[in-house]
Amino acid sequence: MRRRHPLPALRATAAAAALLAANAFAQTPTEAELARKLDALAAELANVKAQLQQLQQQKAAAGAPASPAAPAAPATSAAPVAAAPVAAPPAEPATVFSGYGELNYNRPKASENTQADVRRFVLGLQHRFDAKTKMVGEIEVEHAVSSADDPGEVEIEQAYVEHQLNPTWAVRGGLFLVPMGLLNENHEPTAYYGVERNFVETAIIPSTWREGGVQLAGSFDNGLALQAGISTGFDLTKWDATSTEGLESPLGAIHQELSLAKARDLSVFGALNWRGIPGLQLGGGLFAGGATHGQSAARGRVTLWDLHARWTPGRWDLAALYSRGSISNTAALNATLIGNPTLIPKSFDGAYLQAAYKLWTHEDYALSPFVRLERFNTAKSYADLGTGLTPSPAATERVLTVGANFQLTPGVVVKADVQRFRENKDNNRLDLGLGWSF
C-alpha cells in the first residue's frame, strides 16, 4: 500500500474548517444550528490538532534511533495511527522466518518396538523482493540426526519463487509442494488430526511430496482455485524389488525430491478446489507423467489422482478423501525383477473418512476429539506375468484411529491417539505427539 504524506490531508481539513467557519457567519442561523456548527468546528479543530501532533511525533520518530524494545513481529506492532485518508501500515519485514516441528512417541502392540523420535524439525524462510515477488524456502531435518550412520535426512522441502501476475494469477517456479489431497500442501502438525499423518496421504499420496517445475495458480472470485503446471516426476528405474519400501508407499519409494532428479520425462499436474461456501472445500488433483527417463527398455508412466471434501460446520471438522494411483506397462517393467519380493504394482488406492469435534474451549485452549476410518492398498493389482509368477494383490488394510488434538495455543498442539489395524494387528499402537507451527 502506498504511504501518503499526511500534509495535504491536513491542509484540506484546515480549508474545510475555514470554509465551515465562513459559512457559519455568512448566514443567520438559529442558535441550535450555530451550536451544531460550532461543535463540528471544534471536532475538526481537534482533528487538525491530532494530526499536527502526529506529524510532530513522526518527525521526532524519524530522527530517533529505533527502540530496541520495539516489537519485531508486525502482529504485535501498533495499529495504524497515521493521519487520514490512508492509515500507514506497520512496517512489513521483507524476510520472515517460520518453522514447524513434531516429536512423536509410538508404542505398538509389540512394545519392544516402542520409539520416540524428533519426527521432523523444519525451518522456513520467506523473502519478499517486491510487492509481487517472493521466495519461499523450507529446510527440514527428519529423525534428529543425519549422518553416514544415522537414518535421519536433511531435505530442502520447498524452494520456489512466486510472482503475482495480476490479482487472479500467480506463477511459481522452483521446488514446490504438489497440489494433491488435503494434507500435502497443509502438512504442519497443527493442521491435521492425529499424531501421525493419515496413511492414505502418506502411503498413496507420498506427502510431503514436492517436485521441481513451473506452476500457475489462479484464484477466482467464484471460489474456484486452479493450479496447473509441468514438473519433474517419479523415477521407476530406482525401484528396489529387494526392499519392502515399495510396498509401504509405491510412490514414496520412487519420488525424487529434486535431488539430482532424472528429468528427461516431465509430468503434468492440475488441481481444482472450490471453497465458494464458507467452511466447505471440494476438490481434486491429477498428476501424470513418464517415469523411466529413457533408461529402461520398457517405458512406464505414473498417474495419481484424488478427490477430496472437507466441511467445517460450527465445531465440526469433517473430511473425506479418495486417491488412486496406477503405473503403466508394469508387466514389462517387472520382467527383470521376477523372483524378488516387491514387484511394481499396477494400481494402488486408499480412502478415509474423518470427523473431529471441538468439544471444549477455554481462551486459547481447545480440545478436539476425532475419529478416522481408513482403508488403503499399496498393491491393489499387479499386471499379469503368467501363472505362478504374478504376485497376489496385497490385502487391503483398514485402520481405525481414535484420539484427540489439544491446542495449547493456536501454534502448539499436543496429540494422543490409538490406532487399530484390521490386517496387521501387530501394528496396533498408542501414539503421543507434540507439534508446533509458526
Binding site: A79, P85, S219, G223, R275, Q281, R310
Partner: protein, 179 residues
C-alpha cells in the same frame, strides 16, 4: 444434495468488481457508506482501564491507539470504518471493517492479501458471515464464523481482528470518545 446447484451457480457467476487485491482504504470506506460525504478521522487512545475492559471480554487489545473513520453525511454520523492489518500465516493482511450506528458489522473488505494460499478469505461468502455481528457475538472460527480449509491462520487472525475492532468501537462509543 443442495450444495451442488449452489456450486454451479457460483461457478458461472461473474467475478465481483471489488473482490481484488489492493482495494484502497478510501474505496472500501465509500463501498461501505456510499451516502457519506465525509470520512472524518478520529484518533482514539485507550487507557489501561479500557484495555482491561477489552481483556475481560476476551479481546486482546493489542494496541492502545486506533484510527476510526467516521462516515458522515451532512454532519450526521452514518457509521464507522476501521482499517487494520493482521498477519495471516507469514504476511500482512490489510482489511477494513464498516460498523453501523447499531454497533453491528455492516461490511468487511479485504484490501490486500499476499499469502500463497487462502485467497478465499476475499470471497463475498466468507466476508458476509460477519455482517450483523456485534460486540455481543462470539466472532470466533468454529463457532459463528466458518473456517476456510487451508487458510485457517488467515481466517482466525482476521476474525480476531474484527472482534477486536467491533469491541473497541463499542467501548469508545459507550464512553463517549467516539461520538
Amino acid at each position: 444434495m443442495r450444495l451442488w446447484p449452489a456450486a454451479a451457480v457460483a461457478a458461472i457467476a461473474p467475478a465481483s468488481a471489488f473482490a481484488v487485491d489492493y482495494l484502497s482504504a478510501e474505496q472500501a470506506a465509500r463501498l461501505m457508506f456510499p451516502d457519506a460525504d465525509t470520512f472524518a478521522p478520529r484518533e482514539l487512545a485507550l487507557d489501561a482501564d479500557q484495555l482491561r475492559a477489552l481483556e475481560a471480554q476476551g479481546v486482546r487489545g493489542r494496541s492502545a491507539r486506533w484510527t476510526v473513520r467516521v462516515a458522515q453525511h451532512a454532519g450526521a454520523t452514518l457509521g464507522f470504518v476501521v482499517v487494520d492489518e493482521v498477519i495471516g500465516k507469514f504476511e500482512l493482511i490489510t482489511y477494513a471493517v464498516g460498523i453501523g450506528l447499531d454497533g453491528a458489522v455492516r461490511q468487511v473488505e479485504i484490501l490486500s492479501y499476499r499469502e500463497s494460499h487462502g485467497h478465499e478469505i476475499r470471497l463475498p461468502g466468507w466476508r458476509r458471515q460477519f455482517v450483523g455481528k456485534t460486540a455481543q457475538s462470539p466472532l470466533r472460527i468454529g463457532d459463528d464464523i466458518a473456517n476456510i480449509s487451508g487458510a485457517t491462520l488467515s481466517c482466525t487472525h482476521v476474525t480476531e481482528g474484527i472482534r477486536r475492532i467491533v469491541a473497541v468501537v463499542a467501548l469508545t462509543r459507550r464512553n463517549g470518545a467516539l461520538a
